[in-house]
Structures are given as structure tokens and as C-alpha cells.
Amino acid sequence: MLKGSPERELKEFLKAVRLEFEGEGQVLYELGRKRGVVDSESKLAPAPIVECRDLVKRFDSFAAVDGISVTVNQGESFGFLGPNGAGKTSTMRMISCMSPASEGYLRVLGQDPETHGPEIRSRLGLVPQEDTLELELSLLDNLLIYGRYFDLPKKEILQRADRLLDFAQLTDRKHDKVDLLSGGMRRRLTIARALISEPDLLILDEPTTGLDPQARHLLWDRLYRLKSDGVTLIITTHYMDEAEQLCDRLVVMDHGHIVAEGAPRQLIEDHSTPEVLELRFGNVGHEEYSAGFEDLAERIEVLPDRLLLYVHDGDEVLSAVHSRGHTPERSLVRRSTLEDVFLVLTGRTLVD
């Protein structure tokens, strides 16, 4: 026996494979073993669902995504919050392996999009910003043809389609043409379609943009159910309420950069005060008023139509404003939101 036993050969081979494919994940794994977090008998430590470092997407000389680093873990609901043009969609296109990264390190489901695009995509569900449904076909047929892209057997697709149409609350429209559906229904169908392959990661790019409030809430409810089911979600949005509702963790993006990262509540705590006092004084320059309130608030933002006073107790500050002889046309005390975080970090509002 020159080469040793088959078992030994297999072990050597597996070791080589692990080193070949795990790269830096291996370093973490070894570290975990030393600390006793990962026991030596267990398989490899679970890789993050998405891992990117210094990721760049460049169009000619313009960098739409300018060096972002993000890790999304299994079962997490992760958000990219930012205004239009922040680079969210470009990031989604790279993560969903539809568009190559210009620079940087990207791993999706542990694999490299550059070399394993089709394999990764076979495990992803994508809900693009614009619905890409076959309008001439029925809802059921749309699910069928999409499932066939994943090479699923017809019987299997039809079984799943029943469940998914039920989940999307579209069962009674099953045989209608997509052309006849409302925007909200099309969105829900697109989500059902993305789930037909039972993906390990569902990516939603601006899922509720353009929907009326009722349709939005219905969609949020569906996404919330997916989230509680443990489906890993990545959501981009420029609605701060959407991000607060749905995301366990998020990054705030602006001009291709990440300006903050954390849980929604944590971000608000870190970057804003508990309460915000909004004051509106007719048509006069709000700038002038702001000077008189500087000692009352931690910070003041002057918007074209109102003043935002970042304070701990809004009512208390409001009575102080009154006691100084000012009578704002309108006032509102509210809790800080992610919108305020964005304003503090960038000096601009999320939705123009």
C-alpha cells in the first residue's frame, strides 16, 4: 500500500477541496474551532448567504456602487435603504448574478458569481423593480413557464403553484390573463413566481414602489409571513417605514456608499434623538427661526416647509417654544424614524 488506505485518500481529498473552495471562510472556521465555537466534528461553519467586500460597480467612469461591504446571514431579513440613485439596484443586480462586479469580493450562497452564476441563480428568487411577467398568459401559465426555467417537473410546478397562488391571495384569478391584474396583484404574483423554485434567498428590489397604501400593507403582510417562516430576504427600498417594518438589519446607502449599518432601532438610537418636534411657521424663512431655538434642541434641520428639532421630550420643547412668544402655524411631536437618520447622515431627505 503505497498510497495509504482509501479512507485516508478521501480525507486528504476533502481537505484539499475545503482549502480550495473555502478561502477565507476557512480562516474563520479554524478560529471558531480554537475558541470552541465550532467543534471539530461538525461540518464547515455555515457560510453567510451574501458576503461582499469593497464591491464596486462602475459604468464608464461613474461608480454607481463605490466600495460597499456587507454580510447577510441565513434567515435574516436585510435591507438596503437609500434614495433613488443610491446604487441599490446595481447592488441587487450584482448579488443576483445578473451583472458582473467591476471590483471587489462577492460571494453569494458561498459561491463566486463570476464562475458559478447559473448555479447561484438556480437557488435565488428575484422580484425585480419592474414586473417582468408575460402579460398575455394566465397567472398559472406564468408560474409554469418560470418553473420550467428552473427545469422543475410540470407536476411539481402545478402543486407549488396552487400553494403559492393561495399565499399570494390570487387563487380566484388563476386563469385570468396577467394583463387584467392591478399593480399590487402583479407584485404578489411576481413574488409567488420568485418562490416557485423554493429559493434559499429572496431578493426584492423596491417591492412596493408605485403601489397604493392598501396594496402596500397587503404586500408587507405577505413578506412578514415569509420572514417569520425564516426565508432569507434582501429588500431594497427608499421607504423608511418599509425598512423599519421588514428589516432585522439594514444599511443606509447614499451615492454608492454605505453611510450606516445596523438594526433599525439601533440606527435611530445611534444617530437621532428619541423624539422630533416639527414646526411650521407660515411662509416666512424657517432659517431665521432656527437660530432662536438652537439651545432647545440637540440639532435642528431646516427643510423648505418646516423645522425639525431633534429633542428628547417634544412636548416640553414645544411649550418652551410657546413661552418664548412663538406660535407656529402647525406643530407635531413624533418619534424619530430612519428618515431622520438619513437626514442627519446626509443632510437630505429620502424621497424628494
Binding site: 451583472s99 425585480p128 420550467r148 426555467y149 403559492l164 399565499f167 429559493p199 409571513r225 425564516g230 426565508v231
Partner: protein
């Protein structure tokens, strides 16, 4: 139902089965099977209306005046020309607005490339489906020609692949052009300036020798001219002249160049 059944989370494997481009062909076939009624008039009825109007109507005048064309009755002469012209119609109509729709309007190509398919699969699926559909139409057309007694020999069956090749030689450059358009107006210009003159002058309705020398030289450049020549030679059994291989090669060249530029166009629009 529990929602646990909606996702397997971590258990799925890359699926191996049909090659990805075959799935794209299947997709197009399925969509066609559901929407064919809207295209059946241009695809199948129109050529037969031309055949009757031109072959029987005008043909009777031609035959009376000069005893047919190139030694055969006008109907025999015009039928293979119309076969190639039908390939032009389908090849162009299925590669213009449908491509623009996939890229821009319904954006269904973007749905496809979010799955295991890539842009190349989408292109192959598109062209392969046109080849299949055109082969089917050509088969029906040749069968009707047989019924009319317009086929000179069993060799005429080769007119079916010849017609399919004509379709590809036209649809692949059309696709390349469509990937570089942004609205239906510029596409309409392509129709007016490219397709209509080709239909009228590529020798479908009269022998090219009737044209002035300089115009004949220009017409020879068109891909449809080779398609007409090939289909006509095969159904009239004018003998397998070696120059026919030049026609085949020339159409392959159009197909190849069109394919290359379709691919770069798809990449530019889809991968970005």
C-alpha cells in the same frame, strides 16, 4: 398550509436536466402555443392569399402574354419565391417587436436571466424557436405546393431547410438591429427601408434578369435573394448548380454576422 412548505431553505441543489437553452426554446414554444391566434393571419394565411392572387390572378395574364417565366408557368415560378418571402415576414416580425418587448416593454428577457439561463440562452432560444416555427410553416407551404402540382421532383423537400435557413439569415440581423433600437418608430423605419424593398425586389415576383444591371447587383447583396434563388432551384428542379452552395454560404454569413451582433446587443442591454 404551513408556510414552511414555501421554502426549503438550504436543501436545494443545482438542478441538472435540460440544457438551459432548450428551456428557452420551450418557453417560446409555450408562449406561442397560447398566443398563436394573433399571428396566424400573417404567418400562414397571408402567403396563401398571395399565392392565389399572384399565381392564379396575375399568373394567367403572364402566361397568356409570354407563356410563363423561365420556361415554367408563373404560378410555379412565384410559389417558391413566396415561400422565401414568407420566411422574411416571419423572420422579421418575430425578431423585431418581440425582441424589443423582451428587452424594453414587458422586459421578459430580464425575468429569464434571473434564472439559471443567461443572455446567450435567451438568444439561442429566440432564434431556435424561429427556425422551428419557420420549418413548420415551410413544411405546410411545400405540402400545399405539392397539392397544386408545383413540385418538380422529390428534391423539393430540401426547400424546407432552405426556407428555414432563409428565415435565420434574416431574423438574426433583424434581432441585432432590434437590440439597438429604443422605440417602435425607429423599428418601423427599418421595416419601410429594409423589408419592403427586399420583398419587392429580391426576385420573388420576377426574374432578376429583368432588372437593370446596377440594380440587380444591389439586389444580389440581400439575404432574401439567395433564399429565393435556393428555394426556386429546389422546387423547380433546375439542377443542383454549384452556385447554389454560394447562396447557402452567403446566407450562413448573414446569419453568423447577425448572430454575433445580436449577442453583443443582448449583452449590452441585459448584462449591463
Amino acid at each position: 398550509m404551513t408556510l414552511g412548505t414555501l421554502s426549503t431553505r438550504g436543501s436545494s441543489q443545482p438542478r441538472i436536466g435540460w440544457p438551459t437553452w432548450v428551456r428557452a426554446v420551450w418557453h417560446n414554444a409555450f408562449v406561442y402555443s397560447k398566443t398563436w391566434r394573433s399571428s396566424i393571419v400573417t404567418g400562414l394565411l397571408e402567403p396563401f392569399m398571395y399565392l392565389v392572387a399572384m399565381g392564379v390572378g396575375i399568373g394567367s395574364l403572364v402566361n397568356k402574354g409570354s407563356g410563363g417565366v423561365d420556361g415554367v408557368p408563373y404560378l410555379n415560378f412565384v410559389a417558391p419565391g413566396l415561400l422565401a418571402a414568407t420566411m422574411l415576414q416571419i423572420g422579421v416580425s418575430d425578431s423585431s417587436f418581440s425582441v424589443l418587448g423582451g428587452l424594453k416593454w414587458a422586459r421578459t428577457y430580464f425575468a429569464a436571466i434571473a434564472t439559471p439561463l443567461n443572455y446567450h440562452d435567451v438568444l439561442i432560444g429566440h432564434l431556435a424557436w424561429i427556425a422551428i416555427r419557420c420549418s413548420a410553416v415551410a413544411t405546410a407551404f411545400v405540402a400545399v405546393m405539392g397539392v397544386f402540382g408545383l413540385l418538380a421532383s422529390p428534391l423539393a423537400i430540401l426547400a424546407i431547410p432552405a426556407a428555414a435557413l432563409s428565415a435565420l439569415a434574416i431574423s438574426s440581423p433583424t434581432t441585432a438591429i432590434a437590440t439597438r433600437q429604443d422605440d417602435h418608430l425607429s423599428m418601423t423605419v427599418v421595416f419601410r427601408l429594409g423589408v419592403l424593398p427586399m420583398f419587392l425586389f429580391a426576385g420573388v415576383f420576377f426574374p432578376l434578369s429583368r432588372l437593370p444591371y446596377w440594380l440587380e447587383a444591389i439586389v444580389q447583396i440581400l439575404p432574401l435573394t439567395s433564399g429565393v434563388t435556393l428555394c426556386r432551384a429546389l422546387t423547380l428542379h433546375q439542377g443542383l448548380h454549384p452556385s447554389l452552395f454560394l447562396n447557402i454560404g452567403y446566407m450562413l454569413l448573414w446569419f453568423g454576422v447577425g448572430y454575433y451582433f445580436s449577442l453583443t446587443g443582448f449583452r449590452k442591454r441585459l448584462v449591463i
